[in-house]
């Protein structure tokens, strides 16, 4: 068996000034995750490592640099799935967490549930000693700029994301 890891950033349109760094980010993430596969790491270790690296890269809509909701806050979703046993864990509308994918893995590993949401996910994170970060620390100037632009009544956030603004 030849180990393999494949990663993606978001589908849509990436503004010219962000193209190079977006491409560099996925390459760095795949290198980081692949190093796990080359060691003793499992496929699960590799995908969580790669996605963690992408969450920490502010050029992507996940973790640091996430887009903002209508209130100007960050709410994130994440999922992991292990193909051995169809085990899965997910979090939704989670706040104040730098790496939701790691929290999703904890949901899979430490609970009998598939998905925890909102404040429940936050309580679970605290009970696991998972680090909480200020919500503001996940917001970038770029995310704030896009949020402001799309507050207009006639704005179409889906169109902006997929076709115009990236």
């Amino acid at each position: 068996m030849l180990p393999v890891l494949v990663v993606h950033g978001g589908a849509g349109f990436i503004p010219k000034e962000r193209v190079q760094l977006s491409c560099a980010g996925v390459q760095a993430a795949v290198r980081g995750g692949y190093s796990k596969l080359q060691g003793q790491g499992s496929a699960m270790d590799a995908v969580v490592e790669a996605v963690t690296l992408l969450e920490n890269d502010h050029h992507y809509n996940a973790g640091l640099g996430s887009v903002l909701n209508a209130k100007g806050e960050v709410e994130m979703d994440a999922i992991v799935m292990d193909g051995r046993y169809l085990a899965s864990g997910a979090v939704s509308a989670v706040r104040k967490v730098a790496n939701p994918v790691q929290l999703a893995r904890l949901v899979m590993d430490k609970t009998s549930h598939l998905c925890l949401t909102g404040e429940g996910a936050s309580q679970f994170a605290r009970s696991m000693g998972f680090p909480e970060v200020p919500g503001e620390s996940l917001i970038t100037e770029y995310a704030r700029m896009r949020w402001k632009k799309n507050l207009a009544a006639d704005a179409n956030p889906v169109e902006c994301q997929m076709g115009k603004m990236g």
């Binding site: 849509g12 903002l68 999922i79 956030p157």
Partner: protein
């Protein structure tokens, strides 16, 4: 949205996906990412998928599981992804992209959007691209 799929040396398969969601979304809106079969699926017997794109459209067609369904019917990862993405576009007008692996370590990157940054690593080779049809390689 970001995501990954992998097959390890023992043939085990996994996927992970993470997102901040949709720009200026309603508070409490949850998209495809947190939903099993939509924002990701992994089964050692079939393969794994991590998608990105318009979350509501992905949920309506359960994109990740749909691709694996096509693979169960004998399609390659690439053909299955193309078929499912075309179905999503035709049926609900949604655009997106996916990364896919199968248990043999065959992999595919497909998208119906303008761009999707992607990268893959296998046999000490790094593969990457951004636009449709782009596929560069370099040694790791």
């Amino acid at each position: 949205t970001v995501g990954a799929v992998a097959v390890d040396a023992e043939g085990n398969i996994a996927c992970a996906t993470s997102t901040g969601g949709m720009l200026n979304k309603m508070e409490g809106r949850v998209g495809d990412t947190a939903c099993i079969g939509c924002g990701g699926y992994a089964d050692n017997r079939v393969g794994a998928v991590s998608p990105t794109g318009e979350g509501e459209a992905i949920m309506k067609v359960t994109l990740a599981r749909l691709i694996l369904f096509h693979m169960e019917q004998g399609r390659s990862a690439e053909a299955a992804a193309d078929e499912a993405l075309a179905y999503m576009k035709e049926r609900v007008g949604g655009l997106g992209g996916v990364v896919v692996v199968d248990p043999q370590g065959e992999w595919s990157v497909r998208f119906s959007s303008l761009q999707m940054a992607w990268a893959a690593a296998q046999q000490q080779t790094l593969h990457y691209g951004l636009y449709t049809g782009e596929h560069f390689t370099q040694n790791i």
